[in-house]
């Protein structure tokens, strides 16, 4: 698919979304900030009827603002609790724009998806109990790099997944549609429903593509109906179904439709490093439900899949196993964030957060008394006000959960593999179990041959960690610098999410592949030292476990260079190794 047709699809997606924002759920837009994205957003804004504004949702919006809560000003003025609408309610009937969706905190995501599911927000906070309509469509902007992606729960509810990264501004054209056409299409939409055959065909196609969630086929059907409405079709036609398959199903495809088993898709293949691309692309195989229809759909999906099928599938699998975002954003430096952990009577100092509702509660019982006192003292009280004294202040306390993510960087090169790879694996497994108990996240980077590979993005899923460890092959050169660079990049990503990264490096310290992949020990060692200095400069805790049979000066030197703890473990088995690392992490 070339850039121009990709843009055409993106435009179609925007129009279809404008026709039925709530039904379609939304659009996930994977693109860098730039003119292409701006053009697309401007186009969407232009086709939406004026009553439907795009509201943006800031990344770290407070729950109170998102859901609604107590309106402080009005409450103090009126002397009784006054509710304030939240952003989700304000977006009712419009479109919600989520910038940087890949960094969206999990709690915020959960609120948004809950409102999408129920079509309303339910607020039970600050002494208020509110239920307000919140029916909106979502445009999620995903600027994630390779491994970052918007939360899975959100992605699942957004029908269309667009990728504009490959489109240049020269490939784009303006939208040539008036809002009136959209409004007219909305009227037609009410009468359009896919027929039974089309339902079966979409379900069959979804199953053949290994799409597990049932939301995908439902959303695809709505996209088809919306497109039919826009294109002024009398009923949902094959073209509409094909478009829906291309926009909704293709980006979610986990497996390529297999010829022999169209109905029972095999489990999504694990992306393996040593997989070779198939020589010929398998022909799409229609299910026996409705051959012609299925062929159309699968052909549409196939056309949408990039020519490099394997890479696309691997990317899809990678995206689908994006880590959970945990308690993102809780930076440890800030002492006014984190999970709320009750309130305390206290003073209003800089940095303290007043819990308004608890303060009012504390003040409430004293109001008649204070009023009488104030009147007795001759103070004129105008309209009803709340008399609050210093004793009433309640300060919110927050509990910081210093979450750590442990990055295992495993030397899987020939020299290490010979000695100790098996023991290293065992030790990593034991450490993983420990991380699991502490509910830390773990990540795994392996380096061998000429490069380092992130085998496991930060995760809590132990089973997955184990799987990727078991599949860790050994042999080849020792690109130590590449391994350290990968560790640094990941550690940086982790600390940006507010977690504390710890690197555990298992190596014999004998680098022989330079950063550029070229062989040669001196250059390789130079590069490794440079990478080590960068790690130290970044202030990352590193434990270097020297796995060579005899403790070597190169390992110790490397550890010194990166300010790491050096653990020579020549004859230790897996248990001793894991105990030593645990102890040194404290």
């Amino acid at each position: 698919m070339n850039a121009a047709t990709a843009w055409t699809d993106a435009v179609t997606a925007a129009l279809v979304f404008a026709v039925d924002p709530v039904g379609i759920g939304g659009i996930l837009l994977r693109a860098r900030a730039g003119p292409v994205r701006e053009r697309w957003l401007a186009g969407l804004r232009a086709v939406l009827p004026p009553s439907q504004a795009l509201r943006s949702l800031p990344l770290h919006i407070a729950d109170g603002r998102l859901l609604g809560g107590l309106d402080l000003n009005a409450t103090l003025l009126a002397g009784r609790p006054v509710a304030e609408r939240g952003l989700l309610t304000e977006a009712d009937g419009g479109v919600l724009l989520l910038a940087m969706a890949e960094r969206l905190p999990q709690a915020t995501q959960a609120h948004v998806t809950a409102a999408m599911d129920a079509g309303e927000t339910r607020v039970e906070r600050d002494g208020l109990s509110l239920r307000l309509p919140a029916r909106f469509g979502v445009v999620a902007l995903d600027e994630g790099l390779e491994d970052e992606a918007a939360p899975a729960g959100l992605r699942d509810r957004l029908a269309v997944h667009l990728d504009l990264t490959e489109i240049a501004i020269g490939d784009t054209e303006a939208f040539a549609v008036e809002p009136a056409e959209i409004v007219a299409a909305r009227v037609r939409l009410a009468g359009l429903r896919p027929n039974q055959e089309q339902i079966e065909a979409i379900c069959g196609a979804a199953a053949a593509l290994g799409i597990l969630s049932l939301r995908a086929p439902m959303l695809a059907l709505r996209v088809a109906a919306a497109n039919a409405a826009f294109a002024e079709h009398d009923e949902v036609e094959q073209d509409d179904i094909a478009l829906a398959a291309r926009l909704v199903l293709a980006p979610r495809a986990l497996i390529f439709p297999q010829a022999d088993q169209p109905e029972q898709p095999p489990p999504p293949p694990e992306p393996e490093a040593d997989q070779t691309p198939p020589d010929d692309q398998p022909e799409p195989q229609p299910s026996d439900l409705d051959k012609a229809m299925d062929e159309v759909i699968l052909a549409a999906v196939q056309a949408a899949l990039p020519p490099d099928v394997l890479a696309a599938l691997r990317a899809a699998a990678g995206r689908s196993r994006s880590r959970s975002h945990g308690k993102a954003g809780a930076l440890q430096k800030s002492n006014s964030r984190g999970r709320p952990a009750g309130v305390l009577r206290g003073e209003l100092r800089a940095g303290a957060r007043l819990n308004v509702i608890e303060t009012l509660r504390a003040a409430a019982p004293w109001q008649p008394l204070r009023r009488r006192q104030a009147e007795a003292a001759g103070q004129a009280l105008g309209r009803p006000r709340i008399l609050i004294s210093k004793d009433d202040f309640r300060i919110a306390r927050f509990k910081q959960r210093a979450e750590t993510a442990t990055i295992f960087v495993v030397d899987a090169s020939g020299s290490a593999a010979l000695h100790r790879l098996a023991e290293a694996k065992g030790a990593v497994e034991l450490l993983l179990a420990d991380c699991y108990i502490r509910r830390d996240q773990v990540a795994l980077i392996a380096f061998r041959g000429t490069s380092a590979e992130l085998l496991l993005p930060p995760t809590r899923s132990l089973a997955r960690a184990k799987r990727s460890l078991a599949g860790l092959p050994g042999g080849g050169g020792t690109p130590l610098a590449a391994g350290l660079d990968a560790a640094l990049a990941l550690a940086d990503q982790i600390s940006r999410k507010g977690q504390t990264p710890t690197v555990i490096l298992l190596t014999d310290g004998r680098a022989n592949i330079a950063r550029d992949g070229g062989p040669g020990r001196p250059r390789a060692e130079q590069d490794a030292m440079a990478a080590a200095r960068q790690l130290r400069a970044a202030g990352i805790t590193v434990v270097l476990v020297d796995t060579s049979p005899r403790p070597s000066p190169s390992g110790a030197a490397l550890a010194k260079e990166m300010g790491a703890r050096y653990l020579p473990l020549p004859h230790a088995d897996a248990t001793v190794l894991s105990e030593a690392v645990k102890a040194s992490l404290g």
Partner: protein, 340 residues
């Protein structure tokens, strides 16, 4: 509120539906935890339950949904009023109260009524969601994302059946017996292991993987969205049938006999699996009895134990983080060994 999707029209998900029905027959079984795939209909099932359950009798004007036929369990207000004269009663739907994420503690347990306090200086208690959920269900979507201190609080109240409020100079206790229903997606974070076994039943929800049921799900959903009223009317008969079954099971529940042999079987199963504490046996017994009542059986037999053991026990096993075999597999294995 939008019309809920009819319970009987949910395709598949038999284990989850059964667990919810059992909790409806015997609330003492404890809560239901449903973890699993996105978009598999967890929330739909819970919300559908509200419409399915038969209405219950409550004291008119009682803020805690007191049952007029059970004076022993009255709240303080009803007790005071009952002394003065007969209480009037009315029928209301069984509450299925949503505890939304981001709910604050004061709304959960109840707190000082701010409006009355500020405007009139009256110290009055404003009941929270726990009071509203009394004799019904409290539903937490994405239970794994709920603040830990709120979860602790809920489990504590759910276990004791009473909500004790000591805050802002208030000292209130009121009955709060509800069935806790939690759903979530394990990929977004798991529930603390300590909390897991406080739930009576735990079901694993999977998206149906055969094409026929997948098509049926989409088809019914489509029909429902096209015309909710007609769809609900179409399933009305099924719903009424199921409702009757629940009522009959509740009546029948005290008559279901649990033989010593069945008790021994349950204990053996729990021993074989090495579950902690006695909660496993108790839940297994209660759930099996409720299942027998639901099916009109006279006593609890192997069949019921065998079918209810996985949801009653799978979350009580000691976790071995390095063991790939899921808990369900281990339960199944133990059942096969014991029951043959």
């Amino acid at each position: 509120m939008a019309t809920p999707f009819p319970f009987s029209a949910i395709v598949g998900q038999d284990e989850m539906k059964l667990a919810l029905l059992i909790a409806a027959v015997d609330p003492k079984v404890g809560g239901v935890l449903a973890f699993g795939d996105r978009g598999a209909g967890k929330s739909t099932a819970v919300r559908a339950l509200a419409a399915l359950l038969p209405k219950m009798k409550v004291v008119i004007g009682c803020r805690y949904n007191c049952d007029p036929d059970r004076p022993a369990e009255f709240c303080e207000e009803c007790r005071a009023r009952a002394d003065k004269g007969a209480l009037k009663s009315a029928k209301m739907p069984v509450p299925v109260v949503d505890l939304p994420l981001g709910a604050t503690e004061d709304r959960g347990v109840g707190a000082l009524d701010l409006e009355r306090a500020l405007a009139r200086g009256v110290k009055a208690f404003e009941p929270g969601l726990l009071a509203r959920a009394h004799r019904g269900f409290l539903y937490i979507d994405e239970a794994n994302l709920l603040e830990d201190h709120l979860v602790d609080l809920l489990l504590d109240v759910a276990a004791s059946g009473e909500n004790v409020v000591e805050r802002e100079g208030l000292s209130i206790r009121h009955p709060a017996r509800f069935v806790l229903v939690g759903t979530g997606n394990p990929e977004e974070g798991e529930l603390r292991p300590q909390l897991l076994d406080r739930f009576g039943l735990s079901v694993e929800v999977k998206t149906p993987d055969d094409l026929k049921s997948r098509i049926e799900v989409v088809r019914r959903r489509d029909a429902f969205e096209r015309d909710p009223a007609a769809f609900v009317a179409h399933w009305d008969k099924e719903e009424a049938k199921l409702r009757k079954k629940i009522v009959a099971a509740r009546d029948h529940l005290p008559d279901v006999a649990v033989s010593d042999a069945a008790l021994e079987r349950a204990a053996r199963l729990c021993m074989a699996l090495g579950t902690d504490g006695l909660r496993g046996e108790l839940t297994l017994m209660r759930a099996a009895r409720a299942l027998a009542a639901l099916e009109g059986a006279k006593d609890v037999g192997d069949d019921q134990l065998r079918r209810i053991a996985p949801p009653a026990l799978r979350h009580r096993l000691r976790r071995n983080p390095l063991d790939d075999a899921g808990s369900s597999v281990r339960v199944d294995r133990a059942i096969t060994e014991l029951f043959g």
